[in-house]
């Protein structure tokens, strides 16, 4: 019997469940390695070479090098692991979150200052065409 995933009708949200965890195991463990300053330096010096040591899939490597956080999540990454990448880049959670929304950094920051994204129309897939 397949695992029940009652959360799949929530729009714009990927739950880090067992399927994602298994898919992203090596990607997330690579992220953990960036908690050491010397590894951050090695990664920044030659990202491709560093990633090659971690047996990631090609799609995972490309997503990391492009800093495409939606793609990294789709490949099994979890935001708290991926945080080590944007921390290595000297960036914040707000930067990463904004990058996943299709909004500019300024638009996203303004939305947060205005009270954040409204739950209205954002609770179920299909509302307001959020698909």
């Amino acid at each position: 019997m397949a695992l029940n995933k009652p959360y799949e009708d929530i729009p714009g949200t990927l739950i880090f469940d067992s399927e994602q965890a298994r898919k992203g195991y090596k990607l997330n463990q690579f992220c953990m390695s960036l908690m050491k300053a010397e590894n951050r330096e090695e990664f920044k010096a030659d990202e491709r070479a560093y990633l090659d040591k971690w047996q990631l899939t090609e799609a995972q490597k490309k997503a990391v090098m492009a800093r495409d956080y939606n793609a990294m999540m789709a490949e099994g990454g979890n935001i708290y692991f991926l945080a080590k990448i944007f921390a290595t880049d000297g960036l914040t959670f707000q930067f990463a979150a904004a990058s996943m929304t299709g909004m500019s950094q300024q638009e996203y920051a303004d939305m947060m200052l205005a009270g954040g994204r409204s739950p209205e129309g954002n609770l179920y897939k299909g509302e307001k065409g959020n698909g």
Binding site: G12, T13, Y80, F81, K84, A87, A98, T101, P119, L123
Partner: protein
């Protein structure tokens, strides 16, 4: 005997820690949030606990994908701040309370909660930011701390009810410890926020307000909230609110709210903060002095 006197909840987001570390708390963006803690920083000086049981979630710091405990307790003598990728926060090493922690572990496991015992652990912003919010920038933390990390990163996290009941087991454990200690339980994280995907930035003030209104007088109703409701209504990271229920379960049935604040935004997050006190116990008589 040890006793739990109060519970505190607060956000623990890293940007708040960075604002404190870089002395930005009086800048226009941050000032409203820190104003919400002015009362709290005076209150804690007047109500200084010996030990804080600090319930938080590890953010892929001490626990990688190798080992993921649902509930854990830190029994070490001390806990260093971790390097999460930005370098370690410049905050004091946290001193533990191993005698009480080991006692709690034994009592709580015998109460059917299979805690993972941790004797070596670095702690991340989840643990250090609430201390900074309450104590500012001291040379040493004025309290000993028992860190209790809860998994809310990998699905499924523990349920609201399970967390609330763990709080009750914490209360029983603390109250059966012989040493005369003033103990507070802090529940950290939340409130509504989502850090990922096209829906990032979700804030649900109605959900948060209801949670703040009920955490004191009606925690039973909150203990029935299913995982799906948190994620759908309060965002994928809004699930951190289950940790508030651990704090609440550890307090008495009747509590007194002495302070609350709520601010949007702290980076991506609605930052909620509440202080609940137990009513003073009547002095027991007949015990030899």
């Amino acid at each position: 005997m040890a006793r739990i006197t109060a519970g505190v909840t607060s956000s623990h987001i890293p940007a708040i820690g960075a604002a404190i570390d870089k002395d930005k708390t009086q800048e226009p963006y941050w000032k409203p949030l820190f104003n919400g803690f002015e009362f709290s920083r005076k209150w804690i000086q007047d109500n200084m606990p010996d030990v804080v049981i600090l319930v938080y979630n590890d953010h892929a710091t001490a626990f990688s994908m190798e080992i993921i405990p649902t509930f854990a307790i830190g029994c070490a003598d001390e806990f260093e701040p971790a390097d999460e990728g930005w370098g370690p926060r410049p905050v004091p090493v946290i001193k533990g309370a191993p005698d009480l922690a080991w006692h709690m572990a034994q009592s709580i496991i015998q109460d059917d909660f299979d805690l993972t015992i941790i004797n070596k652990m670095k702690v991340d912003h989840g643990c250090t930011v609430p201390l900074s919010l309450m104590f500012g920038k001291p040379k040493e933390w004025p309290v000993r701390v028992i860190p209790m990390p809860v998994n809310v990163v990998l699905y499924p996290p523990p349920s609201s009810r399970r967390c609330y009941n763990l709080g009750k087991a914490i209360k029983k454990a603390v109250e059966s410890f012989d040493e005369d200690l003033n103990v507070q339980v802090w529940g950290t994280g939340g409130m509504s926020h989502q850090l990922q995907g096209a829906r990032a930035g979700l804030i649900n003030q109605e959900f948060d307000t209801n949670f703040l209104n009920k955490i004191g007088p009606d925690p039973e109703s909150l203990a029935s909230i299913p995982h799906l409701d948190y994620v759908r209504k309060a965002g994928s990271e809004g699930i951190e609110l289950v940790m508030w229920l651990i704090m609440r379960g550890a307090l008495d049935d009747k509590v007194r709210e002495v302070h609350r604040s709520y601010h949007i935004p702290a980076s991506n997050t609605a930052a909620g903060h509440i202080i609940l006190e137990n009513y003073p116990r009547e002095q027991k008589t007949g015990k030899a002095a």
